[in-house]
Symmetry: none
Subunit: 195 residues, 4 copies
DNA sequence: AATGAATGAGACTTCATTCAT
DNA sequence: TATGAATGAAGTCTCATTCAT
């Protein structure tokens, strides 16, 4: 049945994802992936053209999921009238994403820093561009609605802030007092933005 | 002469550094390093026990340089009396470091995200721990002096912010309006911290 | 129905033949064959024990067809009295075969040059030996009837000549002025043989 | 010393040549080549970028040798005045080449029949084109000097004849009465050409 | 101090073949 | 009869590392 096949595909995908995220793309071999998925090496190649395609499929899937989350967020935000509250919700959303999808972001960041690997993902990123552009614009609009003097810089600022927290979470793990930092972030950011 | 030897060592170190930073650790081979350093592979192994030791030596050197910079910064900061001004100078220092040592930080981040590689660097990090701990404490003191309610969270916050900007610089390159973001960072941060 | 089954078998056989001839035996996979035949891989293995057996069956079929052609030729030649005319008709026959069955001969030649593959076809060639031997004898007789001093050498000579032209056709394709070469062959050969 | 290195290279080249010629390109693995050359697999890749480059280098070397032989032949022929004698010497030369370089020609023919492999050799053939063109022209001139009505067809004819004999030698091995066929070829050809 | 030839483990990938359904 | 998921052996190639010179 198609279901069996889907399960196998998912098993491979999941195994690869976890290994890529925890060991890195290069330090994970197809053998390890197959072994973890309890599948032969050859079978993995029945489902995915190459190791890089496997990575691509993982990213695509997670990007799409993540974008769907964003769309739900936008729906929710559209029902809020206070701009500051909108931003607060958005920030909450981000922090939430980071903590729940930590593995994914760890993988994603490590790829961003590996030009050779990244090059092969160009087509995927190109394909997703329309949707990422829209997200960028929607963020931009949120800040403009808040009355920011320089919404573009603001967007990069918050993006960097978020990514930085992500990085701290990933690298320092449990050492970081996440809840307190989150409070700080909300307090400060909202406060500032209301200036 | 010892000087010749020192030069050779440095040539290898520099070549490896540049290649690691731009291509990643895994995508750089000892052959490439030797070639760029205009040296034989064998000779590189006379100076560095293994590829990983070579990486370790690069990091150690750069960490030491960076720590020396920090010490100079602390000296300068001790002559300032206004706590907010102290923090401003520290932030300026960070941003400066990031932009001038971009290559190093790119490498460092990518390593942070590759546990497998990182594991081999444990001894080095252990060795440097006393000094990094001291830096952490000194930052902590700066925030306490500023009257922060939660200096520890504050420290992580600013650290994340800095790292996030770093990440943006590295990954988005010229697209990011760095100067405007820097202004924003200073404005906002100082303003907030004075609350 | 048996007819359906026959059709399926033929579709597989034809697809394999075309692919083997144009891409070579090694560079053709069972997957490609099955795909071209619009059949599952498993089904192909229901009809043919192995890739090599499939090749064997192709060759056998074509050899048998080719031998039947030869038999018809012999019938026609037996009605001719002039020995030289007999040879002329035979040569015409060969050239015709070559140009119409080019794909087959391309495949056959490439196999002749791959001992490893050829080895597995030994049983087939052994099985066909009686008929090929008879053809050889009949050629031999034709030359003897023409009064050749050394019919055996003559037979090899004409065989080589034919195969050589075949090779030229296959490898040089349209560059070779086939019609003029054919004229030359007939002229010269007949002329010489009449000496 | 460079000599050692040259020897190793030659050992690999020779081993590969023999295996390619007797087993075919595809049925020869780099492992086999390395083993026959008494060398590690890795070392073979120090000398030759890929299996296909190895093949390319073999062909190039043999082509160049063969062309040098042709040049020597032309020198010798230029001292002969009788056109028929010139052609006779040329034919002798060809037959000689075929029997002494049988392995090479077996390999070459099998490649001619494998489009996929051949495709990768395009650059090499392109590079050698000026010299092969010159040889073609010189052959052409020989026939014109003999007063042939259609030198172009004649050239293809003799070329095919030669290749056909080659094919017979390769595939039928010792069964072919080579010396008698050679006599026949010379007799007939010279006779005909003098018509 | 310096070379680079040599090794060998291990990575990615392909493909003929089998088998449960 | 028919499918295609699954296997595993084998192939090409890379690269950190060693060692004779």
């Amino acid at each position: 049945m198609a279901k069996d096949s889907e399960n196998t595909r998912k098993k491979i995908l999941d195994s690869a994802f976890e290994l890529f995220a925890t060991q890195g793309f290069h330090d994970t071999s197809m053998s390890q992936i197959a072994q973890k998925a309890e599948v032969s090496k050859g079978l993995a190649y029945n489902y995915f053209t190459s190791k890089e395609h496997l990575l691509g499929d993982i990213l695509e899937q997670t990007f799409l999921d993540s974008m769907a989350s964003w769309d739900r967020l936008m729906g929710k935000i559209s029902t809020i009238s206070d701009p500051a509250e909108k931003v607060r919700v958005m920030i909450d959303f981000y922090i939430d994403q980071l903590t729940t999808n930590q593995n994914f972001y760890r993988l994603y960041l490590s790829l961003l820093l590996q030009p050779q690997v990244l090059a092969n993902l160009k087509p995927l990123l190109e394909k997703l561009k329309p949707r990422t552009d829209r997200i960028q614009e929607e963020s931009y609009d949120l800040f403009r609605a808040m009355g920011s003097k320089d919404p573009e810089a603001e967007m990069w600022f918050i993006k960097s802030l978020i990514n930085g927290v992500l990085l701290s979470i990933i690298t320092a793990g449990d050492m970081i007092p996440l809840e307190r930092v989150r409070q700080l972030l909300l307090e400060k950011y909202i406060a500032v933005s209301q200036n």
